[in-house]
């Protein structure tokens, strides 16, 4: 038995208040629908992606385990370094204690930021198979990735704050809130986060072309940056050529700026006898202005490079049909 649309269907549907093809309130193609709403669309996409990222990052377990997980990594990293300092002992160890804890705490934000966008690409492509649908939606793909990464960065920042608090409360790091340069801290955090996100965009560009096992790549990159940015030891310890590489990294200036803001009297990561900075600018460590300026310039260059590389990578991935394929071995 077959069912046929009655011959008078168009008239019948119109009589019911439906359009020519039976859809309520729609009389044909509306060309204004193809026009976006600029910033409003971008903000909505970002907001939705942030919410999605938070839902995915925060709902996998109960709050206690979630809290433990969020702080375990940065606190453990800091403890590893503290023990290293303790077993060597001496004046250098005492002096570097605040230095390493700060660097280690802030590094959790770096890992979250560098990894956040990249892991979102891998997750959506391999696990949830949603990457193609995100890509073909009107939302800007990069904006969606930024939103997804924001949740991870927020969790990293939470871990960093708690690690610093533990360091101050339990590990004897000298901290005077009255001496903190709050404006410097605020500006450097904003500029630093932008640089971290740029790093994440670069990693996402790489992961668009990498196979499923690329989960570890962001951490590997963060680990390499750990060496050259003065995160846990002053750049003076490195060979001069490597120091120059570090001076070109926005993360180096970000860490230096945050340390300057939180611990104005603490050791500098950049200056010292025989350092590349001394060779370039003299023995005096960079002040707040110089540090922020360097952070701004290197960060801007980093963001520009990240945007260019990401768009090129996206085009290449689309050209090769990589956006909806699953890999895996």
């Amino acid at each position: 038995m077959s069912t046929e649309v009655p011959a008078g269907a168009p008239a019948a549907t119109r009589a019911l208040g439906l359009g020519p093809i039976g859809l309520s309130g729609w009389d044909g193609f509306d060309p204004t629908r193809t026009r976006g709403r600029g910033w409003s669309d971008l903000w909505r996409s970002y907001r939705t992606a942030v919410r999605l990222g938070w839902e995915m990052e925060a709902n996998w377990t109960d709050p206690l385990l979630f809290f433990i997980h969020s702080i375990a990594q940065p606190v453990s990293s800091a403890l590893i370094l503290i023990v290293m300092l303790e077993i060597v002992g001496g004046a250098a160890s005492r002096e570097l204690r605040g230095y390493v804890v700060t660097g280690s705490a802030l590094w959790s934000i770096v890992i979250s930021g560098v990894g956040g966008l990249a892991w979102s690409v891998l997750d959506d492509r391999e696990t949830y198979r949603m990457l193609r649908y995100l890509y073909v939606s009107p939302s800007d793909f990069l904006v969606v990735l930024l939103g997804r990464g924001t949740a991870r960065i927020a969790i990293g920042a939470m871990g960093a704050s708690i690690t610093l608090a533990v360091g101050i409360a339990l590990l004897g790091i000298p901290f005077d809130p009255g001496r903190v340069n709050w404006p410097l801290l605020a500006v450097s955090m904003v500029l630093g986060l932008a640089a971290i996100v740029a790093g994440g965009v670069l990693m996402a560009a790489v992961c668009l072309h990498a196979r499923q096992e690329a989960w570890s790549y962001p951490e590997a990159v963060a680990g390499a940056l750990f060496l050259v940015t003065g995160a846990v030891f002053p750049l003076a310890v490195l060979p001069s050529a490597v120091q120059l590489v570090g001076l070109a990294m926005p993360l180096t200036w970000w860490l230096a700026a945050v340390r300057l803001a939180l611990f104005p009297d603490g050791p500098s990561s950049l200056a010292g006898t025989g350092t590349a900075w001394a060779a370039l600018a003299g023995p005096v460590p960079p002040d707040a202005g110089q540090t922020l300026f360097a952070l701004l310039v290197t960060g801007a260059l980093g963001m520009l490079a990240a945007a260019i590389v990401f768009r090129a990578s996206e085009r290449r991935a689309k050209d090769r049909g990589l956006l909806d394929q699953t890999t895996g071995s």
Partner: protein, 297 residues
């Protein structure tokens, strides 16, 4: 079926009937398990040659991470053997990461890809699949360990003074066997815990590095170090290898390497046995809860 065997694309090994086809000899079972190991190692090994980004991201860059800790000791003007500790720890990190990311976490990924149910529907043991993954990952991990050791030794001037090469090699092998056994236990737990698996895998990196003494002798942790030596194969194996590879360095209160080798033997046996048991139990549990095929859980 009767008559001469039919040779065609559709027929594999003719048997009299399904009951006979289901009755495998012990030899056939063993051979199938070995073939399953080989089969599962194949895509991982093949992947190494087809996509070479791992050379940068899984070998060279991690070497730079290890170098960072070398420079921390240099900034502290630590005794030279501490640099050796970091280099050795950096080499062993590769195997631990292989265990937790490429084995323990892998079943969770396989479920999402739809391969897990095909594995369980096949007659082989899932342990063979895990062994196959381990074999495939061992190539990358070994290469990474060699690079860290060789370049670290050459660039940072590490000198080894090995008291007993046979014992050192034995300890190394036992360490690998026990951490891979622990990895199988984790793989079975991750079958049940789903999405938590990824986050729990992350939880097992830095904290384990800390209690295992990856960058310093675990004996310096006191009671915590003692507990680690008793339970974490990476901790006891690394400590034994340090004592054997740097014979002049102090022991910091941990047992001598011979005792630690025995501890590793015990751990290997226990972990592999527990892995066998837990994979079976958790498979039954996963079948009851429907978690073998439910995605995004």
């Amino acid at each position: 079926m009767t008559g001469a065997p039919v040779r065609s694309a559709w027929v594999g090994r003719p048997t009299a009937g399904p009951r006979e086809a289901a009755a495998w000899s012990t030899r056939r079972r063993m051979v199938t398990e070995l073939r399953a190991v080989r089969g599962r190692a194949y895509p991982r090994l093949n992947g190494l040659f087809r996509e070479k980004s791992w050379l940068l991201f899984e070998v060279l860059l991690p070497f730079l991470t290890t170098s960072a800790f070398v420079f921390v000791y240099r900034a502290l003007q630590a005794p030279p053997e501490y640099v050796g500790f970091v280099v050795l720890g950096g080499a062993m990190t590769a195997f631990w990461l292989d265990v937790i990311w490429m084995m323990a976490h892998q079943l969770y990924l396989e479920k999402h890809q739809g391969n897990l149910e095909l594995y369980f529907a096949a007659p082989m043991d899932v342990m063979s699949v895990l062994f196959g993954m381990a074999v495939g990952g061992l190539v990358i991990s070994s290469l990474r360990a060699i690079v860290v050791l060789a370049v670290g030794t050459a660039v940072y001037g590490v000198t080894f003074s090995v008291t007993s090469w046979p014992l050192l090699v034995a300890v190394f092998v036992l360490t690998l066997a026990s951490i891979y056994g622990l990895g199988m236990i984790l793989a079975s737990l991750f079958l049940m815990w789903g999405r938590e698996a990824w986050h729990l895998t992350q939880l097992l990196t830095e904290p384990i590095y800390f209690v295992s003494g990856l960058n310093f002798p675990v004996g310096r942790l006191g009671l915590l170090g003692a507990l680690a030596v008793a339970t974490i194969p990476l901790a006891v194996g690394l400590d034994a290898m340090r004592q054997l590879a740097f014979s002049g360095a102090p022991s910091f209160g941990t047992p001598p390497p011979e005792i630690e080798a025995l501890i590793l033997v015990g751990m290997t046996v226990v972990y592999l046995a527990v892995a066998r048991f837990s994979l079976g139990v958790l498979e039954r549990l996963a079948r009851r809860e429907g978690r073998l095929t439910l995605r995004w859980q």
